[in-house]
């Protein structure tokens, strides 16, 4: 593990964040967008754990990561419920079709 520094984790997290962001922006399927959000959250978790591990400041980062996982679960539940609601209303989960709030 000597060759692995915090920079590697940051790069990984950036890549994961970019992948998630790309997924969120480009997907037209609502479920895809939720998945992208999971990737972004998890890229943040990697940062928390990595910086906690390398700064040596106890387990604060890990605890935060567990909170974020918990939050992601809740977010997924709510997000899925919204998607279900959208499907019942529009009979589709294509976000381009659900532009009722357009000005």
């Amino acid at each position: 593990m000597e060759g692995v520094s915090v920079n590697h984790f940051v790069v990984l997290s950036i890549l994961l964040f970019a992948a998630g962001l790309f997924c969120v922006i480009t997907r037209r399927n609502a479920l895809g967008i939720l998945m992208g959000i999971e990737l972004i959250l998890n890229s943040a978790n990697i940062n928390y754990v990595a910086f906690a591990r390398y700064s040596g400041s106890g387990y604060d980062g890990q605890i935060f990561a567990i909170f974020v996982i918990m939050l992601a679960a809740a977010e997924a539940a709510i997000g899925l419920a919204i998607v279900l609601g959208i499907y019942q209303t529009f009979e589709t989960i294509d976000v381009d079709a659900t532009d009722r709030l357009r000005g």
Binding site: L21, I25, V95, D96, D99, R102, G103
Partner: protein
């Protein structure tokens, strides 16, 4: 104040609530008849209407008699205070304390006996005279209201309450002159009477104001209009300064006298009285001969304490009275309308009374008021009886020979004529002679006034007997007239027997005539001269409240009795000559009447026939002047006032238009512009909100990346030292 030194010590009046009933009963009758009279007349007939009217006045008369005897029972001092019924506080403002109070003292008790007594008789008479009239109830409502107003005038204990009655009788007079308002001439006569009276009222009101104002100033804030209090304070006016160069007493009494000339038909305001004959004859008898026209004299007697302080006013009063007496007497000699003769006779006799007042002989003046009330009411009612019998013909030239057909009317008429002509020992002789004597002997009088009075006495005797002869003696002209009478346009009286001989009137009319004729015979007892037994009853009776000025009494006392008797004989001879002349011309026809009418090419006759052209003069000056003034004022109103008003309106309108434009374009423009701008801005902005999540995310990410980029590039630069 020496002339009436003990005047100030009048006793306090004794409270006697029944006094209020005397005026209020006729008022109740008037209200009842005015509101319910028409229904009453339809359901119960005219009898009940007439009965109510006569009964209210009759009971008032009985109460007046009762009050009279209460006064007789008092001593002279207490009589001066008399009886009072204080009903309500009326006006209590500052020092002006006027109550609705009726007071009976010797003066007012004498007046109300005449007003209610003769009033009741005339009411009775009118029930027969007006029997054919459909508006019977209205007539009696007004007649009762008149009695109420007259009694208020007489009994009111202050000038203000007297003025209420004063205006009240004016209104009733107006309503009754125009009673037959279907004819335009009658309403014109009514309006004339009212308007001419208003001119006099103006003077009266000014007099009231001046009196209150000056008493207020002279007593230091204790002004009053109550007679007995004014009497006590009047001395304070002696040195109270002047108005227009006259003493206050002179000015105030002159203003009051102007009021009296209106109500009592004196020069220059007498012209309404002859025209007032347009009213039904009982009205002429009651209002325009016996009662209302004496209001001015009553007022002067009531205010005698003021007039006694103003010899200048008294001089004016006596001269106006004498001039009126002469002027009216001359006119009366040439009139052919039976009522017009009596009207001018009334004006002339009222002139006598003013002459008496003017020379300070208040008692003699009031005595003539009373005796004149008897014989003039009798004459008027007699003429009414004639008119009734002649089917509403009033022209004496179409009468004649009526004495056999109307025996009672004739006898009473003749008695009253003798009385007014001043033949002893009838009532008119005593009262008229007392006036003539005072006019001669008083320091305020003189030979000139006496001479005018004697001339008037001769003229009176002459024209009154002319009237008697034309009406009751000679050829019955109505017979020749009767042939066309049935077919001509005004045959409205023919329902009860045209062509038939005139017949005597019913008892309701003849009984009052007889009673009044008795009064005309015996009325003189109130004013017998001092050398007779029972001398000067009325003067003595009035003494507590009406006193002859000291200077007058003193000078008259020192005149020799032979002079007095001599002058009396002269006036008798002159009156006899007047009668003789009338007899020569109109009964024996030794001298044709044309001899006089053609005198001086007929010019004097035409002047008299046209009443000295006074009406024409007034018409040309006052009436036309007023009308011209109204036209000028109307023009002024139309051009100037309307111009100002319209100009102001135009200016305001223009300003309004400008403000409207400002509001429309500037204020509304600003508000709408703001709204439009906001709207347009919103429409532009809403295009950003696409509703596509991806687009939002792109914006967010771009924004965050941009922020990070700016932070790192420029923040780093800024952080570099």
């Amino acid at each position: 104040m020496t002339p009436a030194g003990h005047a100030a010590t009048l006793a306090d009046p004794v409270s006697a609530p029944f006094v209020a009933l005397i005026p209020l009963l006729p008022l109740a009758g008037a209200i009842l008849l005015g509101l319910a009279g028409e229904r009453l007349q339809q359901r119960r007939g005219k009898g009940i209407v007439g009965a109510i009217a006569v009964a209210t006045v009759g009971v008032s008369f009985l109460l007046s008699v009762l009050a009279f005897f209460r006064l007789v029972g008092m001593d002279e001092h207490g009589r001066g205070g008399g009886l009072i019924a204080n009903l309500l506080p009326w006006i209590h403002v500052g020092s002006l304390q006027v109550d609705l109070a009726f007071q009976i003292d010797p003066l007012s008790s004498a007046m109300i006996l005449v007003v209610t007594g003769i009033g009741a008789l005339i009411h009775l008479y009118a029930t027969a005279y007006m029997a054919e009239d459909p508006a019977f109830w209205r007539f009696f409502a007004y007649l009762n209201l008149f009695i109420f107003a007259m009694l208020t005038l007489v009994l009111g204990d202050s000038l203000l309450l007297m003025f209420v009655g004063w205006e009240g009788v004016g209104f009733c007079s107006w309503a009754l002159i125009g009673f037959w308002h279907q004819e335009f001439a009658n309403t014109t006569a009514a309006n004339k009477a009212f308007i001419v009276n208003r001119i006099g009222d103006f003077g009266f009101v000014i007099g009231i104001f001046v009196l209150f104002w000056s008493l207020e100033a002279a007593t230091g804030g204790h002004g009053t209009l109550v007679f007995r209090e004014m009497r006590a304070q009047i001395g304070s006016l002696e040195h109270a300064g002047t108005i227009f160069g006259m003493s206050i007493a002179t000015f105030a009494s002159f203003c009051l006298f102007v009021g009296a000339t209106g109500k009592s038909a004196q020069i220059p305001l007498y012209t309404w009285l002859p025209d007032a004959m347009a009213g039904p004859t009982p009205v002429s008898a009651l209002i325009h001969a016996a009662t209302m026209v004496t209001a001015g004299l009553y007022m002067i007697a009531r205010m005698s304490f003021l007039f006694s302080m103003a010899p200048a006013t008294l001089a004016v009063v006596s001269v106006v009275g004498a001039a009126t007496a002469l002027l009216a007497a001359t006119i009366a000699t040439s009139q052919n309308d039976i009522k017009k003769v009596l009207a001018y006779s009334t004006v002339s006799q009222l002139g006598y009374m003013f002459l008496a007042m003017g020379v300070g002989a208040y008692g003699a003046g009031m005595a003539h008021v009373i005796t004149h009330a008897f014989f003039k009411a009798c004459l008027f009612l007699g003429s009414g009886s004639v008119i009734h019998a002649m089917h509403h013909e009033q022209d004496m030239r179409k009468m004649g020979g009526l004495k056999d057909y109307l025996p009672t009317t004739f006898k009473t008429f003749l008695v009253s004529t003798v009385a007014i002509a001043g033949i002893a020992p009838l009532a008119g002789f005593w009262s008229k002679d007392e006036i003539l004597w005072m006019a001669y002997a008083s320091p305020y009088g003189g030979t000139g006034l006496w001479l005018v009075g004697v001339c008037v006495a001769g003229l009176t005797a002459c024209y009154m007997f002319r009237q008697v002869y034309m009406t009751f003696y000679g050829e019955p002209h109505w017979k020749a007239h009767g042939g066309e009478h049935g077919s001509d346009a005004h045959g409205h009286g023919d329902a009860h027997g045209h062509h038939a001989t005139p017949h005597e009137s019913p008892w309701q009319m003849t009984v009052p005539l007889q009673i009044l004729a008795a009064g005309a015979v015996l009325g003189g007892v109130v004013c017998l001269p001092h050398w007779m037994p029972m001398a000067g009853v009325l003067e003595h009776w009035l003494h507590p409240v009406v006193q002859t000025p000291h200077v007058v009494a003193e000078q008259v006392e020192h005149q020799p009795l032979s002079l007095e008797l001599g002058l009396m004989v002269v006036s008798l001879v002159v009156a006899g000559a007047g009668i003789f002349l009338a007899t020569l011309v109109y009964l024996w026809r030794r001298i044709p009447a044309e001899t006089f009418s053609n005198l001086g090419n007929g010019a004097p006759y035409r002047v008299l026939l046209n009443k000295w052209y006074v009406d024409e003069l007034y018409d040309a000056t006052v009436v036309r002047g007023t009308l011209a003034l109204t036209r000028v004022l109307a023009w002024f109103d139309r051009v100037v006032i309307d111009g100002i008003v319209n100009g102001a309106a135009t200016i305001v309108r223009t300003i309004g238009d400008l403000e409207g434009a400002f509001d429309h374009y500037v204020v509304d423009g600003a508000v709408n512009g703001l709204a439009d701008g906001t709207y347009a801005f919103g429409r532009t902005l809403k295009q950003i909100q696409t509703g596509a999540i991806n687009a939002y995310l792109i914006v967010i990410v771009t924004g965050v990346l941009g922020g990070v980029f700016v932070y790192f590039v420029f923040g780093a630069v800024a952080a570099t030292p």
